[in-house]
């Protein structure tokens, strides 16, 4: 009944955050960190013999696709999305023969190949280049033999003229998404134009994305106009992959992505598929590394009348809109009415603003405090919360506190205030369950409140202050690029801090749930250590917990790293799923499959 997700952000805010290691930015550029992440990820998907090799390969691929900088999210997104076109598999060769090649590989042979030295221009076409006498619905009337022959000759001449035109424009490569007539291939060979046919729409899209060109339209009156829509390639040659001849093109990129192709070798087809899927997953995982979790307080209510005071505190340092969406992704958006703390700052979009918040303290003073990154001293200010809904009950909280907290040590917060807010929540939660609706209210207690407040004040100033906030951890739970060693450390930490948090509560229900969640988390390291010798889990657990109690760093002997964002989202999703399952009281079998109800826009749905 109590949302089991509740303890998680608190646990992270309370202590886990202090253990996170940064990997992005400075460190992802380092091959070692990237390799450690990849190897740990692949370790769960591939046999023990191949993971290190493939991790190195994935690393090399990232490095070569982004030679200047660390791989950025947009690049990883492109690699993840286009991975099917960016790799080629060869069965029958040892895994060690896998390699990274510059350029892209199209898995078909040339229809016509004319060797070229040096740079060349390439044109994309999506329609047959041989003009047709008639088209569907168009009738071609033959009234004399001579005219028929003349039109046949015209077709040949026209095709020839087009190839001549390509040649004079220095176009040496024709990439066609459709099969071209023999005649086109013939003239292409005569005029030194290589032709690759039957490109898939994905391959065309990839080429467009890399080179920035759009397909060339040959017909109309532009046969003598200069061809502008052409891509530049540094080479174009046949490549023998196994026993198949493929097309290998070194496109010059117009984006940050330097095109490279991954050649995956393995003894059987299935192994290659597995490796490809694992690497694609790894690139998707790396994207998650660039996401953050922001603190928020959320309240879910189905009914307007039961609208509780709720807020989402989301202060991204940049790209506000996008990350807002990410932060909200875990919520059940259809049932959640999220409200954001509104701050008098123009560019911060808040669609669901119900609350108005006025910081009463002098913002300048806060600003100076925030600029001490080593010990983030924040001030809780008096603020009033008011919903502007019609019938909604107004919940005003006035926690008066001034606390200090440096790093991950939380000593001085006022428990009264915490209890107050928790009580406040639980009554709401109880009310919600009585009404058979799903209301859950998350309060981050004092530890969070003070950070929230500090965020609220900062935007009074200007952009710079936002950055400084981001730097001293004051607004996000999980920073961009936070990682932890693999091997159950995340679970142990979360377990420890959830229990730590639960101890502070005097309220039975949340405490019970928190303990259940904390214990359930241990099942992961337990099963990880099951295959090793006896008692190894107990040893690991005691070592870790003792270190945490003594405020020492965790004893880590794992090389691999994992993204904390991924882990955190996973735990939240699992708990969400568990909540849903536990709320089901009846399963009804039906004869016919359920029809998926499409969501229509109101315009279509007159």
């Amino acid at each position: 009944v109590t949302d089991p997700r509740r303890p998680c952000p608190l646990a992270v805010a309370h202590g886990l955050r202090g253990h996170l290691l940064p990997a992005v930015g400075g460190r992802l550029a380092e091959t070692a960190a990237l390799e450690a992440l990849l190897e740990a990820y692949l370790g769960g998907r591939l046999g023990p013999g191949e993971r290190r090799h493939l991790a190195r390969l994935g690393c090399e691929y990232c490095r070569r696709c982004a030679p200047a900088a660390a791989p950025c999210p947009s690049l990883l997104r492109l690699v993840g999305r286009r991975f099917a076109e960016l790799h080629a598999a060869v069965a029958g060769l040892p895994v060690a023969s896998s390699r990274v090649l510059p350029g892209i590989v199209l898995r078909r042979d040339f229809a016509a190949y004319c060797p070229v030295r040096g740079d060349l221009r390439a044109v994309l076409v999506t329609e047959p280049l041989r003009p047709a006498l008639s088209a569907p619905g168009v009738e071609f009337l033959v009234d004399s033999e001579g005219r028929y022959q003349a039109s046949q000759r015209w077709i040949a001449r026209r095709t020839e003229a087009l190839m001549k035109h390509f040649q004079s424009n220095d176009v040496k490569l024709l990439l066609s998404s459709v099969k071209q007539e023999e005649l086109v291939i013939y003239y292409a060979k005569l005029y030194g134009v290589s032709v690759v046919e039957c490109l898939s729409s994905e391959e065309v899209a990839l080429i467009c994305e890399i080179t920035g060109v759009s397909p060339y339209e040959p017909f109309g009156d532009n046969t003598h106009r200069e061809i502008t829509e052409s891509a530049v390639a540094t080479f174009c040659q046949p490549l023998l992959l196994g026993s198949k001849r493929c097309v290998h093109i070194g496109f010059t990129s117009v984006c940050a992505f330097q095109p490279h192709c991954l050649i995956l070798c393995g003894p059987v087809e299935g192994v290659n598929e597995q490796h490809a899927a694992a690497l694609q997953g790894a690139f998707t995982m790396l994207q998650q590394l660039f996401k953050t979790v922001y603190q928020r307080e959320e309240c879910k209510a189905d009914d307007e009348s039961q609208n509780e005071a709720s807020d989402v505190c989301c202060w991204p340092s940049s790209a506000t809109q996008k990350q807002l969406v990410i932060a909200n992704a875990a919520c059940n958006s259809s049932r959640v009415s999220e409200c954001q703390l509104k701050v008098p700052r123009g560019e911060t979009e808040t669609q669901l603003t119900d609350l108005d918040l006025q910081g009463s303290e002098n913002p300048a003073r806060v600003q100076t405090d925030l600029q001490k990154p080593s010990n983030a001293i924040s001030h809780i200010k008096e603020f009033s919360v008011a919903t502007d809904g019609d019938d909604s009950s107004i919940d005003v909280q006035k926690p008066h506190a001034k606390c200090e907290h440096g790093g991950d040590v939380h000593k001085n917060y006022e428990s009264d205030s915490l209890v107050y807010s928790q009580k406040n929540c639980s009554t709401a939660a109880l009310a919600a369950c009585n009404a058979d609706t799903d209301i859950a209210c998350e309060r981050l207690g004092v530890g969070k409140d003070l950070e929230k407040t500090s965020c609220n004040v900062v935007p009074f100033k200007h952009e710079k202050s936002c950055v400084s906030v981001a730097q001293n951890y004051s607004n996000c739970l999980i920073e961009v690029g936070s990682v932890l060693p693999v091997g159950g450390y995340f679970e142990i930490l979360l377990h420890y801090y959830i229990q730590y948090y639960a101890k502070q509560l005097q309220q039975s229900e949340v405490t019970v749930v928190a303990h259940v969640v904390a214990d359930a988390l241990l099942s992961i390291p337990k099963s990880l250590y099951r295959t090793r010798e006896q008692d190894s889990f107990t040893k690991f657990y005691l070592r870790a917990v003792n270190a945490l109690r003594r405020n020492q760093p965790l004893p880590v002997n794992e090389r691999g790293l994992e993204s904390v964002y991924c882990k955190y989202q996973l735990v939240i999703s699992v708990l969400h799923c568990v909540t849903e399952l536990l709320s089901i009281d009846l399963i009804i079998g039906i004869k016919r499959p359920l029809q998926k109800i499409e969501d229509y826009d109101s315009e279509d749905d007159f």
Binding site: G47, P48, G49, E50, V90, A91, G92, L93, P94, V95, A96, S97, R130, A132, L133, S134, A135, P136, G137, V138, E139, F140, L141, V142, D143, S144, E145, Y148, Q149, Q152, R153, I155, A156, R157, E160, E181, E182, L183, I185, Y186, K189, L190, G242, S243, G266, P267, V268, E269, G270, V271, T531
Partner: protein
């Protein structure tokens, strides 16, 4: 309506390797493959009880493609070996036997599969580093300035396929032919990126092997042109023959490429118009002094007649597969239009003549620079011919791989025993830091290394199909075969004369030991030594064997790592 069937639940097999069915099928497969291995390998006859085609073979490519394996674990193995064969043609049996032995040997060890995999990867790394190093004692550099080593390579391929049914002189004859054919495909004037030509095998089934021959250029079968009249071909001023190559049909049919409709008025015949156009093409060909017209598809008899009257030879139905070599050989570009002919499409030939082999008539196109050649391959019956063709293709592929990486490995089991000695020697002196890196104990490492070596040695042992003993020496680590019928207590040096690869004559006491069935066998004190050169070696393809070794181990690891097989039965 398709019949609706209730979905079956998936079949779920845990720990598949511990199942009796799997280990029995594995040892059966391993037994079949081992019995095929080597020059003395036993033949397998594959046929369907219903009747039809019969295949007698000992080649892995033929057996594995026809054998249906029941268990998914085994299909991983066969798929893996087949992929290897499609890449390298050679060393398929080696890969398969090694893979089976590795699985059997590793499975019997009481070591966690994860540890076995890590250790075996390390052992493979040792082997590969050794094989790629200059110090490697089981590899030979291939010198392309002399034919000796190349002949050895080809001969080893041919002799290891007993189902070709060749006697010694036939082997010698074919060895020379294959090498000659390969030499034809190497271009004389090499620019920056050389492309090998092609050797086309022309089947003549029912002839004698000794009638096989190799010719530069291409043969196109032409039943119509009779040998009775000598061929007169029109030549250009430079005494070459101009050739026009067509890849469109010249049959005069109106092909409608259009998606829409073409309406023809009454009294107009498009066929006549097409014929007129064909005649125009014919006229232009004659004017352009073309001496030979080859069409991939059909030429209209009317045009054929016209060309014949004008002393132009017309050959049609050449087929798609010949188009690329034809174009490569003559420098002509296949013409795809009968409406516009560009003179730059024509190619050149040195000569054209007629040949006939065993009641088949061919037009023989002789190019100026031959990178294309035809191997007329004869054998007594269809089954033996098929086997011989596979052997010839393998040999050609081996030569192609060798020109890329001019190395060869000692055959006759010597590479396997030599590598095993090397690994035994190296694994004894492994540093503690390496053990920590692998995360295993020294005892575990020794156990796995021993299993690995025994697997390698069992491949060498598979060469022997009689009762005789197999020995390995303690100096060079080569493989020696003792003929059957001698008691095992005899003085070995009296019985053995040459090692498996024939590099090593029995000149000194090499301290032999039995290869099979001994545990705790003494290990060579130093690194196995390399030998000098000798003639008539048995050699294996370096690239194929190296890759086979790696693929065998990777496949074995893959199979050992399986804990569950979930099979969809629908």
């Amino acid at each position: 309506m398709s019949r609706l069937e209730a979905k079956k639940p998936p079949l779920f097999i845990s720990e598949p390797l511990n199942k009796d069915v799997v280990s029995q099928s594995l040892s059966l497969l391993s037994g079949i493959l081992k019995s095929c291995y080597g020059p003395a390998g036993r033949l397998k006859q594959l046929h369907n009880g219903v009747g039809g085609y019969v295949c007698t073979t000992s080649q892995s490519s033929a057996i594995l493609s026809r054998l249906s394996v029941s268990h998914p674990v085994l299909s991983v193995l066969t798929a893996s070996v087949q992929s290897h064969i499609s890449r390298f043609s050679d060393c398929g049996l080696f890969t398969a036997i090694l893979c089976c032995s590795l699985i059997e040997n590793f499975k019997s060890l009481n070591v966690a599969s994860c540890t076995v995999i890590k250790i075996s990867k390390h052992l493979l790394g040792l082997c590969m580093d050794y094989l790629k190093s200059e110090a490697c004692g089981c590899r030979v550099a291939v010198d392309f300035s002399s034919v000796e080593t190349l002949l050895c390579l080809v001969r080893s391929v041919l002799t290891s396929k007993p189902a070709c049914m060749l006697n010694k002189s036939e082997v010698d004859h074919l060895t020379t032919l294959i090498l000659k054919a390969f030499m034809f495909t190497v271009p004389c004037h090499v620019e920056t990126d050389a492309v090998l030509g092609k050797c086309i095998i022309v089947p003549v089934k029912g002839g004698r092997v000794a009638d096989s021959t190799v010719l530069p250029g291409l043969l196109i079968e032409t039943p119509e042109i009779k040998l009775t009249k000598p061929l007169t071909v029109k030549r250009t001023c430079s005494n070459m023959i101009k050739i026009a190559l067509f890849c469109v049909s010249m049959s005069g049919d109106c092909f409608n490429h259009e998606e829409g409709t073409v309406t023809v008025h009454h009294g107009i015949s498009l066929e006549m118009s097409e014929l007129d156009q064909l005649l125009n093409v014919g006229k232009q060909l004659v004017n352009d002094e073309v001496g030979l017209v080859v069409c991939q598809k059909v030429i209209h008899p009317f045009l054929k007649q016209y060309l014949k009257e004008n002393h132009v030879i017309a050959v049609d139905r050449a087929g798609l597969s010949l188009m690329e070599p034809l174009s490569q050989m003559t420098g002509s570009k296949p013409i795809a239009s009968i409406h516009l002919l560009s003179p730059s499409c024509y190619g050149n030939l040195k000569d054209v003549c007629l040949e006939s082999f065993a009641s088949k008539h061919f037009v023989h196109l002789i190019p100026k620079d031959a990178v294309i050649c035809s191997l007329i391959l004869c054998n007594r019956n269809e089954t033996a011919w098929d086997e011989l063709k596979r052997a010839c293709e393998t040999a050609e592929h081996v030569l192609q791989l060798t020109i890329k990486e001019p190395l060869a490995l000692l055959g006759g089991g010597c590479t396997e025993t030599h590598l095993a000695s090397y690994v035994r020697h190296k694994s004894g002196s492994l540093s503690t830091s390496s053990l920590n890196d692998i995360d295993c104990s020294r005892a575990q490492y020794q156990l796995v290394a021993d299993g690995f070596c025994r697997s390698l040695e069992s491949v060498a042992c598979s060469l022997n199909h009689d009762d005789g003993e197999i020995l390995t020496d303690m100096v060079y680590g080569h493989c020696w075969f003792v003929p059957s019928g001698f008691p095992s207590v005899s003085n070995w040096s009296d019985l053995v004369s040459k090692c498996g690869c024939r590099i090593n004559g029995n000149t000194e006491n090499l301290n032999w030991r039995l290869l099979q069935g001994q545990f705790g066998s003494p290990v060579i004190q130093g690194c196995p030594r390399a030998l000098g050169k000798a003639d008539f070696l048995t050699l294996d393809c370096f690239a194929a064997k190296c890759s086979g070794l790696q693929v065998a181990l990777e496949t074995a690891n893959l199979i050992l790592d399986l804990s569950y097989v979930i099979e969809d039965q629908n």
